[in-house]
């Protein structure tokens, strides 16, 4: 029973990280049909931002890094969108390969800039303790995820920009004919989505070392969250991320780490038998 309880914060915090990563993916995928494999490298960029700020801000680097990493990763995303991705709208499978090329370049760049070995970001002293089985650092990551979800929800439903974003996601042509500058909306979505990956990267520095391939560990699982939650669905992403995080950690706990991923994969395939388009589906009259 104690093991069961100890596993809970691990699962929830993995779910929180997956959620932060998947939010950006699900919106870029749902709205623009872009499968961004370089998203993982935005996580890495966020984590290295925290590492660099450490020299200047000491052990509170994590707090300072949050807004900075959001902007850094967001700008990287914006640059990617403006420079190449925008020529690929309507060709999702091609964007996958294209952005994978970008991700290779970024990984090598990180290796050249920061060295191949992992680096460590010291977490603040006030995150050292724990409440019962729940360590503060994992709690902090969960708070980050909850805060981000609330912010995204408010943005999407309470701001004019967010409503335009929803309009473009539901029907791009109709939104464009109604006078919405869809290109501008796409850029904003890309910026925010990439920025969230940067925040996820900062969160990850609290539970592990930082290396050039940090993003690759999470990107596949984050895509599974998108598939299971449904495209562009905030609710779906939240539920799927938490479920996947818990499933991952409990499958590891009850069997072993090597079987866990296979079990997760099997569960997702089984789930798609009932909900082929994920938990929530954007209702549309379009055929495909």
């Amino acid at each position: 029973m104690e093991g069961f309880l100890n596993q809970l914060p691990i699962g929830l915090s993995i779910g929180a990280v997956l959620l932060l990563i998947a939010l950006g993916l699900t919106f870029t995928f749902g709205q623009m049909g872009v499968i961004n494999m370089a998203h993982g490298e935005f996580i890495m960029a966020g984590a290295y931002t925290a590492f660099l700020l450490q020299d200047w801000a000491g052990r509170s680097a994590v707090l300072v890094a949050l807004p900075v990493a959001f902007v850094v990763a967001g700008l990287m995303g914006l640059l990617l969108e403006r420079s190449v991705v925008r020529f690929f709208y309507g060709r999702p499978l091609d964007t996958l390969l294209l952005t994978w090329g970008v991700s290779l370049v970024l990984q090598q760049l990180a290796r050249d800039l920061f060295g191949a070995p992992n680096v460590q970001v010291l977490s603040p002293e006030w995150l050292q303790g724990a409440v019962g089985p729940l360590p503060y650092n994992r709690l902090f990551i969960m708070v980050l995820a909850v805060g981000s979800v609330v912010a995204i929800w408010a943005y999407m439903n309470r701001s004019a920009q967010g409503r335009r974003m929803q309009a473009v996601m539901q029907n791009r042509q109709l939104a464009a004919t109604s006078g919405i500058n869809t290109g501008r909306v796409d850029q904003r979505t890309f910026f925010i989505g990439s920025g969230l990956a940067g925040i996820a990267g900062v969160g990850l520095t609290l539970i592990g070392p930082v290396g050039p391939t940090l993003g690759t560990y999470y990107i596949v699982d984050a895509f599974l969250v998108v598939v299971a939650g449904g495209l562009g669905q905030l609710r779906g992403a939240v539920i799927a991320a938490v479920a996947l995080g818990l499933l991952n950690s409990y499958a590891e706990f009850w069997t072993n780490a090597s079987l866990a991923k296979v079990i997760v994969f099997a569960v997702i395939i089984a789930f798609l038998q009932f909900r082929p388009q994920g938990l929530f589906v954007l209702r549309s009259r379009a055929l495909t």
Binding site: F29, G33, I35, V84, F87, F88, P92, L93, D94, L96, L97, L98, W100, G101, V102, S103, L104, V105, Q107, Q108, D112, T216, V220, D221, F223, L224, V226, V227, N256, A257, S258, L259, A260, K261, V262, V264, F265, I268, I269, L272, Q273, P276, L287, T288
Partner: protein
């Protein structure tokens, strides 16, 4: 009316010689691969070429599934690995005689696991090379395509499968050899595996298998089924409305491509002498897809060409400029995807058309 009548023969005429050209090109490539290369290349280089041709077999399957069928499969490494491990397990048991394979002894396994027992028999092991990828792909294809999960979703799922497979293989140390995989083979069906003559024979085998599978795939693409496959790629719903079941077409094609990858994996093991998780994960699977894109995904020949070209490029650049290779590789994908989405074959075709136009003018 007369205009139409006049036009028709012009359209038909160039097609006939072109078909001959295709056959002549195939024959020429076959002669170069089977006769010239073994004479010209030193054994080490011939071994490298054999390795690239193994990858070319996988690429052929990807070309079929992705280029013709529109199914972007990012998990071909899984099937490559299943075929490879089937072969590796047989070779390991064969080398060990009646004993346990060496790595099992090192990880403290005392009895041969039941999973390994069938691979004592060479015939059964060779059957497994085909059957295991076939069953896995057919099962996955049925479950996924029946529910109309497609496009990017399918790509993501196959990638997740590749990731899960690697973690599974690494974790089951005593059963699979873990990160090291299966290696140190000595005997290959009665021949010394590292002998020059064996390696030459293996090269020829790989080249012939690739040729046969290429012809088979080419026939498949030309057949009624191939047209249906193209139709599914370009308008799945319309095909469904016409009374066909796209799921069946896709599952069959995906399974064929998986079997090709399995056969390639089985040939790869004696040629290279190792099969390990690092050879079949997310990255190697993606690299092959990119090779197909570089060669030209819409032509089967492009897939094969891409695998060989990228194989050589990778070897050359990681020997000469190891630090620059990842930059080059990344830049190459970006350039190919933006400027030449039809790959080398597309560029060659465009150049030929321009040349013809200039010659005609």
């Amino acid at each position: 009316m007369t205009a139409v009548l006049e036009k028709k023969p012009v359209q038909v005429a160039p097609k006939e010689p072109r078909r001959w050209k295709g056959a002549a090109l195939f024959a020429a490539v076959a002669v170069v691969a089977l006769v010239v290369m073994p004479l010209v290349l030193e054994p080490f280089r011939l071994g490298l070429l054999a390795k690239y041709l193994c990858y070319a077999i996988v690429a052929l399957g990807i070309g079929l599934a992705w280029g013709q069928g529109g199914m972007l499969t990012l998990g071909q490494g899984v099937f490559f690995g299943l075929g490879g491990y089937a072969m590796g397990m047989y070779l390991k048991l064969n080398d060990a005689g009646g004993d346990l394979p060496d790595f099992m002894v090192w990880s403290g396994v005392e009895q041969l696991p039941a999973l390994w027992a069938p691979f004592r028999n060479p015939v059964l092991a060779l059957a497994m090379v085909v059957l295991v990828p076939l069953v896995v792909a057919a099962l996955l294809g049925t479950l996924v395509f029946r529910q109309r999960v497609r496009g990017a979703y399918f790509a993501i799922l196959t990638q997740a499968l590749a990731a899960a497979m690697v973690i599974l293989l690494v974790g089951q140390q005593g059963l699979t050899g873990g990160t090291n995989g299966l290696t140190n083979f000595f005997d290959f069906f009665g021949n010394d595996i590292s002998a020059e003559s064996t390696q030459r024979g293996l090269y020829l085998t790989v080249a012939i298998v690739l040729g046969v599978l290429y012809l088979a795939a080419w026939q498949l693409v030309r057949s009624r089924f191939g047209r249906l496959l193209l139709a599914v790629r370009d308008g799945e719903d319309r095909v469904r409305f016409l009374g066909y079941n796209p799921a069946t077409v896709k599952t069959i094609t995906f399974t064929i491509s998986a079997v090709m990858a399995g056969i390639a994996g089985a040939l790869f093991v004696p040629v290279v002498g190792i099969i390990s998780p690092a050879l079949l994960g997310v990255v190697p699977s993606l690299e092959l897809v990119v090779a197909v894109a570089v060669g030209g995904r819409f032509a089967l020949a492009g897939a094969v060409l891409g695998a060989v070209v990228m194989g050589y490029a990778k070897t050359y650049f990681s020997e000469e400029l190891p630090d620059a290779w990842l930059y080059l590789q990344g830049a190459l994908f970006i350039l190919v995807m933006t400027l030449a989405p039809k790959g080398i074959v597309g560029v060659a075709g465009a150049l030929r058309d321009r040349f013809r136009k200039e010659a005609a003018a």
